[in-house]
Amino acid sequence: MALKKGSAGSLPAGDSDPMLPKLFRVEKRRRETQDTFTLVLKPAQGNEGFPFAPGQFNMLYAFGRGEAPISISGDPAQPQTLVHTIRAVGAVTQAICGGDRGEVVGVRGPFGTPWPVAAAKEADVVFVAGGLGLAPLRPAIYQVLAQRDDYGNVELIYGARTPQDMLYRRELERWRGRFDMRVHVTVDAAPPGWRANVGVVTNIIPRTRFDPAHTVALICGPGIMMRFTAQEFLNRGVKAENIFVSMERHMKCGVRHCGRCQLGPTFVCQDGPVYSYAYIKEWFERREI
């Protein structure tokens, strides 16, 4: 099988002015790790849902601080709430994460290309997430599991720095308990008592079950990790056009105007963030672009 070349198919940002933020209130805030929080947002007015496709992102606006692009990490089947998992590392993300319940944030989006979940039907699907990369993949996992009969073997490999740095612990345990999905967790280093794997995610790929000719690999994590992982899938016979990665770039507008997110001939905000590896590998991790 071969999926469409290039990006995973861009979606329009909606009918309203894409530069105008909608107001959302923080409904819940949950600490995932020392510096990472999951925020559940609800519209400040009305009950209008927020439809999105897995892999898309929003520009979140902390008033008086600025905007940051953040992947949507909730369930696309539940558009009544908007879920974002955010690492508080800069002024904007710290302001967003530091807000109390009821705090208002601006939301523009959804932007960008989705994971090719529908196109992957009937194939084996291998999700590979590293660190915070599980957040943009989670909506795709929800969608595949919601239509589980439509897919072949489903595997999730998740790598983190330490056990304390893992996102969505309870959910990982729940997924692991399913009989129709295999979950492999690995960390770079672990204290005594850790009974799962230690090592890099590429070590786990040989232990997963997939038919290379009928496999779609969805990879999200740090650039180095995605490059090594994509290479491992290529070595095992998965075609480059069936390997998808989610790219991260700084951006200001989200609508192809500012040029900050240009990557080779593409703009990550609209041509990405999800690309097929066949298309993006030429610019992937290339220096000085």
Binding site: D35, R87, V89, G130, G131, G159, A160, R161, D165, T186, D188, A189, A190, P191, P192, W194, R195, A196, N197, V198, G199, V200, T202, N203, P206, R207, G221, P222, I224, M225, F228
Partner: protein, 154 residues
């Protein structure tokens, strides 16, 4: 100890030995013993003499470095289809890490001296093992570099 003839098909199926000709598998099987470790039992400890090279059949082994300040730190796990014990080819044939089973682990222990002596007598066997040894070292080296990059660090 299991009869040697039972070892050869097990060795032949293990990824490390795949592709070896039956004659070589027979020689290796002559150095092999089936072993089993309970959870938390050590397969080896740092500075001990490396008498054995382990072919993991089932289970998981944590490779640990001990730090006086932080205690044991797991730097790698080795599981089914992998091998443990990379320095048995090199003098002074000592372990450089601790290895502890994190669950019930079944393995084939290959006697290092037996294996080395067979490799000295049969250079084709030595070359075949050395090719696999070099490949695994290269993989280990690549993985170590990847791990050192601390890619998830902020």
């Amino acid at each position: 100890m299991e009869p040697m003839e039972a070892m050869e098909p097990i060795l032949a199926e293990h990824p490390f030995f795949q592709g070896l000709e039956p004659g070589h598998l027979k020689l290796i099987a002559e150095c092999a013993t089936r072993v089993q470790f309970k959870a938390n039992q050590y397969l080896c400890k740092e500075e001990q003499e490396a008498h054995q090279f382990y072919v993991i059949l089932h289970g998981r082994v944590a490779v640990e470095i001990f730090s006086a300040r932080r205690g044991p730190i797991t730097i790698q796990t080795v599981g089914e289809g992998e091998v443990l014990g990379w320095l048995w080819f090199l003098q002074p044939y000592h372990w450089h890490v601790d290895a502890r089973a994190t669950e019930v682990t079944r393995a084939i222990a290959l006697d290092v001296q037996c294996l080395l002596s067979k490799c000295e007598k049969n250079h084709e066997l030595g070359y075949q093992l050395m090719k696999r040894y070099a490949h695994s070292l290269a993989v280990q080296f690549r993985v170590a570099k990847f791990q050192l990059a601390d890619i998830y660090g902020t």
